[in-house]
Structures are given as C-alpha cells and as structure tokens.
C-alpha cells in the first residue's frame, strides 16, 4: 500500500498497462516532456520513449481519428484530451467512428481505445475547463464510460479500461486529482480480472434511509454529506460506470432504503441522472417511497468561476435533497 494522489495513481496505472502490453501507446497534447498539464503522464515518455508516449499536434479530431487507424493496426491507444471542453472537435470521430467501427466491421476490427478526459469544475478555471460532458457519451451506443472517484479505483480502472477491447471514455474528476488515498500497487493489469468488476457500481457507504447515487467528483461530496447527516442514514453508491450503468446494485440498495437521490455536476436536463431516474422509477415503481430527486448543475453554461460554488452540488444541497426525500 502506498499513499498516492489520483494523478500519481493514474500515472502508476498507465505505467503498469504499458509494461504489461507493448501495444499500449499514449497519444495526446503535451503529454511527453511536460507530462501533461496535470502531470498524469509524468516521466512516462522518459521511461518508455517517444514512440510509446507521443506528443500530438494541436488537433483533437486528428488525435482520435489517427487512433482509429492505430487500433486497426493492432495498437491500444490511450488518448489524453487536455480538458473536458476540448473533446468536442473530436466528437465526430468518437461518435461515428470509434463507437461504430467494431460493429460496422461485424466484429472483424476491435477499437481498444481509451480516451482520458479530465472533467468537472471546482478548480476556479476559465470557460471550457470545468465541463461535465459525460451524458453525450453515455447516450452513444458502442462506447463505454468510466469515471473513478478515488486513487485506488483510478489505479485499477484505468488499467481495466485499457485492457478492454471496446472503446472507453475515461473521465477523470480533475478537482479530485490531488486527493490522496491508499493504493495497492501490487495489483497489476494481469490480475484485473480478479479484482473488482469496473462495470459494477460500488456501495461506498451503507445506510438505511436514502440511497445517494453519484460518481466521479461528487462521490466525496456525498460521503461528506452522509457523514455530516445528523439523523438521516445515507447509503452512498459510486456508479463508476456510466455506460453500462449497474442498475442491479442500485435497485438492491433502493429495495432497502426506498429512496433515491442522484448527484452530478452536469446540467440536469438530459444528464446521466435522467436515465437513472427514468429506469429506477420504472423498476422500483412499487418500492419507491419518494420520487427520485436529482441534485445537479443547472441548465446553464458552466458559470464564471466565482459563481461555481452555487452551480456545483455541495454537501448542503445533498442533505437538503435527502431531507426532501424523507418528507414524502
């Protein structure tokens, strides 16, 4: 066990994946000598060489489009998009090519591409640097979407994402990049099979009154809310996988609590919470004692940083929602 920040944990996971499989290559803007603007790829070019950690020209569609060709040639590209707001130039290649190529070729070609995207707000950044675009990808058939909430999960799931033969959009909660946690580095990509299934949600805190479903950056927020909750017992479920979503774990939790609150930073309308609320309201029609409540960012462009504290779901808004759920 070592105590690592999420940045260092992902870095360690990338290193393990590269040691494990020579076909794993990293490609992105400023990921080489600089180690990425968040230093997630720090030292990897130095240790693995410029042919395995390649600095890309400033063109996201080019990065993803060439990755499709690299995958056709048998490589396992791990791409870095510098910030959430800069993934859109590559949306066409992701949605029409990466997501559909395996099926277009009736399985004859794999697209084992991992697209790493630091996402979310809370770091006082300027526009385009605090967005949560996960719903766009979760709605896209052919893609898988993962987002870790702590260093240990990040260390493991980045290896699992890379080992997966399907394309994985890997959202890294940038405001948790510097959170520290215990990481068992003895686990390698080789035994990822034996470790936790990345596509399953994790009950990170048990409770009996309200289930709070969250992922990525809001998991810590919800855990803090649960701790701080005076009389409501909150169960916190870290979804981790946004495509597919593990409804079994959610349903069994709700069968115990009878209530669900969903928390995410992305705008409410059409966010991932909408799908969860829709499915759970159907699956748990007779179990739910209160309507599913969503605590999310508002349906506005991410605000100027001095207002983000009002946009982001915080401890108080989570507790407020839990209380509202109890009032039914």
């Amino acid at each position: 066990m070592t105590n690592l920040t999420m940045v260092k944990a992902i870095n360690a996971g990338l290193r393990k994946a590269m040691e494990h499989d020579p076909k794993v290559i990293l490609f992105g803007e400023d990921i080489g000598r600089l180690g990425g603007v968040f230093r997630v790829t720090d030292n990897l070019q130095k240790d693995f060489g410029t042919h395995r950690v390649m600095d890309a020209p400033l063109a996201e569609s080019g990065i993803v489009g060439t990755a499709v060709g690299l995958a056709m040639r048998g490589y396992r590209p791990v791409l870095e998009i510098q910030f959430d707001g800069f993934v859109y130039p590559s949306f066409n290649q992701i949605v029409s090519q990466v997501a559909k190529f395996h099926r277009r070729m009736a399985g004859a070609v794999m697209m084992p591409i991992t697209i790493r995207i630091p996402y979310g707000g809370g770091i006082g950044a300027v526009e385009h640097h605090s967005e949560s675009p996960e719903a766009y990808f979760a709605h896209t058939a052919g893609l898988r979407v993962l987002t870790p909430s702590d260093p240990q999960a990040a260390y493991l799931t980045i290896q699992q994402a890379i080992a997966c033969n399907d394309p994985v959009i890997y959202f890294e909660p940038k405001r948790r990049y510097w959170d520290k946690g215990e990481v068992d580095e003895s686990v390698s990509a080789l035994d990822v099979g034996s470790v936790a299934d990345p596509w399953r949600a994790r009950v990170v805190r048990t409770g009996s009154d309200v289930t709070v479903a969250c992922y990525g950056p809001t998991v810590r927020t919800c855990l803090e809310a649960a701790q701080a909750s005076p009389d409501i017992s909150i169960e916190v479920v870290d979804l981790q996988s946004l495509s597919p979503i593990d409804f079994d774990t959610l349903v069994s939790s709700i069968e115990r609590t009878g209530r669900l609150v969903i928390v995410h930073e992305a705008s409410m309308s059409g966010g991932v919470g909408a799908e969860i609320a829709a499915r759970i309201s159907e699956k748990c029609f007779y179990t739910l004692e209160a309507p599913v409540i969503r605590v999310t960012g508002f349906d506005v462009p991410y605000p100027a940083s001095r207002l983000e504290e009002y946009f982001l779901p915080d401890l108080d808004r989570v507790l407020d929602a839990a209380e509202r759920a109890m009032r039914y």
Binding site: G62, G65, T66, L70, A71, M72, R73, H102, R104, N165
Partner: protein, 364 residues
C-alpha cells in the same frame, strides 16, 4: 473547360497515354508493364464498369437502396490500387469500387451495404482494405493513423487513403495532412478530383489546383491525368516507394470526372450541362487503353470479346447473388455493438426476441 483541357494536356497533369491512346513520355514519370499486366488492367476496368452499371440497374429495380457510381473514374481507382503491394492498406470512400475490386473484394461483398443487409461487408484485416467510408474525410485520418502504426512496427507497408475534391474542405483531411507531415508517416493521399462534390463544381471552391495544397504542409503534391491508368500507376508507384523508404507522404491529385450521377438518388441535370460530359467522354479511361492495346497488338478482338463475356457472366452472378441476399436475423443488430458482454445490450436483445416471439405465439 479549355483551361482544364490544357492542364490535362500536360501543363500540370502527368500523362503517359493520351485520350487518343497515344503513348507519350514524361520527364519524371514512366512505367513498363508486361502485356499480361496491361491486359489485366484493361480487364479490371471493364469488369468494374460492368459491376457499376449492373449495380445502378439493380438499384433502379429496387434491389439496392443506393449506388454511388464510379463511372469514368476506373483508371484512377484501379491504377492506384493495382500499384499497391499486397500488404499495403487501402482506405476507400463509398465510390471506390475500382479500389475494392483491386483489393480482391467480390462484387457481392461490395453490395451488401447497399442492399442494406450489413454496414460493412468484408474483413478489412484480411483484405487490407477498410470499409466504404461515408463520413467525408474521416477515413483519411484513419489512414494516417494506420501509417503511424506501420512506422511504429518498423514495417515497410504503406497506407493509401482515398477521398474526393470536395473532401479537401474538411477539417479532418487537413488535420490528416498535418499529422502525416509531423510524423512523416508512410501514407499516400489519393484525391480523385472528379470535378464535382454533388452539385458543387471544384473550380468554384478554389483558384488553385488541389495538388498544390501539399507543399504548404511540407510534402510533395502531384497532379496526374486520372483517366490515364498508366500515368496513375506510375505516379502512385513513386509515391508508394517514397513512403516505403521513410520519406513520408505524397498528395496525388487524380484529375478525372464523375461521368454518372453523384448517387442513384441524384439528378445532375439540375446543376451541370450535358456538354461537359461529352467533353469528358472523349477522355474515357477504358477506350484509350483499348485503342493502345489494339494498336500495339497487345490485345485483339478475341481478347476484348472474352472480357465482354466475362462481364456478362459476372453481371449474371451479381443479379442472382443480390436477389439472394436476405436480411439477417433481427436480433443480430445487437451483435458486435461491444466485443465484451454489456448488461444493457443483453437485456434489450432478449426484450426484442421475446417481443417478436409473442407474435409467433399469437399466430400459431
């Protein structure tokens, strides 16, 4: 048109065989082919045109949803694809039937996607040829990425990526130029300037020639008479060799013409004059090679007849084969969405299967 003709007649475009079937020489490019190779190229062009016409007919009869004819572009497509080595990899668009044919893809494999029974049709790895790419420009980046992979492998293969004059406007194509130049990737950019992007005439888009775009990105560009299969092959071989020996990309502009409609749903009479087509008919790629073969005594009447016959048989096979193509099992739409188990997909597959079964029940 005159200015274009001048270009074709040698000011820019490399030419080794005139529209009249005369073999001419070029200071920088030449090619020597055996009689059987020349016969093979003729055969390819005739059969591909036959496939093309047959598919157009089948679409009219409602057997295909759509067809994008390559009529008139046979020399550009076959000349370039036949210049490739077996392990080189081609990235065609939806119009490159001459390319897929040259990569060994059968007519019925080409037609599955137009019949609407598949979104692909063949194994790209086995054929070293990507699928018919529909989103303009996308496959050009794939070709560059594949070439970067060749480079990482230390192999000597080359990727050849196809696109049209209209695609020159797309960001993806220009980014492909940037990446190919930055990594000096072993890729050949083969642009068929067939003068039209649906209803948009090339000359409205720019006052410079397409091949001139390359220099500003840091690699050579060359314009070739796209209806001259010898010139196309010669120019492509040089570009392939250049890439193979680690000297990076080349942009080839094959100056040709889309003799047919954009697709079977298109009505070109709305935007172009018949006269233009007449001018280009005089430059037909098949005719000029036929004249040359005949004049040189490389092929005689019996050879030409035999190819015609082969075409008739092929056409018949296509007609029967296409009509025999049945839609796959509905549940197959859930296959290959993911390569590994996916809860949602499994759930929905069984929902559909059950739902469809419910009708069986009610029936029987």
């Amino acid at each position: 048109m005159d200015e274009r003709m001048n270009r074709i007649d040698g000011i820019h475009a490399v030419q080794l065989l005139t529209p009249e079937g005369q073999r001419v020489s070029h200071p920088d490019y030449d090619i020597t082919l055996s009689d059987s190779e020349l016969q093979g190229l003729y055969r390819d062009m005739v059969l591909v045109r036959r496939i093309d016409n047959e598919a157009t007919a089948l679409q009219r009869q409602g057997e295909l949803g759509l067809w994008a004819p390559c009529l008139g572009q046979e020399a550009a497509q076959i000349g370039s694809a036949r210049a490739m080595a077996p392990n080189d990899f081609a990235f065609p668009t939806f119009r490159e039937h001459g390319v897929t044919w040259s990569r060994g893809i059968t007519p019925l494999e080409m037609l599955g996607i137009l019949r609407g029974v598949t979104s692909g049709g063949w194994d790209p790895q086995a054929r070293k040829c990507g699928p018919y790419s529909i989103v303009i420009g996308a496959q050009v980046l794939h070709g560059v990425g594949y070439a970067m992979g060749i480079q990482l492998d230390g192999a000597e293969d080359v990727a050849v990526t196809y696109f049209g004059d209209g695609a020159m406007a797309q960001g993806d194509v220009n980014e492909a130029f940037v990446f190919a130049a930055a990594f000096s990737a072993p890729v050949v950019f083969f642009c068929q300037n067939n003068q039209w992007a649906i209803s948009q005439p090339r000359d409205h888009q720019s006052n410079v020639q397409i091949y001139e775009r390359a220099a500003g990105f840091g690699f050579p560009g060359v314009q070739v008479d796209g209806n001259d299969i010898l010139a196309v092959m010669a120019v492509t071989k040089v570009a392939l060799e250049r890439a193979r020996t680690g000297n990076g990309p080349t942009l080839i502009e094959a100056y040709t013409y889309r003799m047919g409609a954009h697709t079977t749903s298109d009505d070109p009479t709305r935007y172009r004059l018949a006269g233009e087509i007449e001018t280009w008919r005089l430059r037909d790629p098949i005719e000029r090679l036929k004249v040359y073969l005949a004049r040189q005594g490389i092929a005689d009447r019996s050879f030409f007849d035999q190819i015609e016959k082969e075409g008739d048989d092929l056409a018949e096979q296509i007609r029967q084969g296409v009509r025999a193509m049945v839609p796959p099992d509905p549940a197959s739409m859930f296959d290959h969405v993911y390569s590994q188990p996916h809860a949602r997909i499994d759930e929905q597959r069984s929902e559909l299967v059950e739902y469809l079964a419910s009708f069986q029940d009610s029936v029987g």
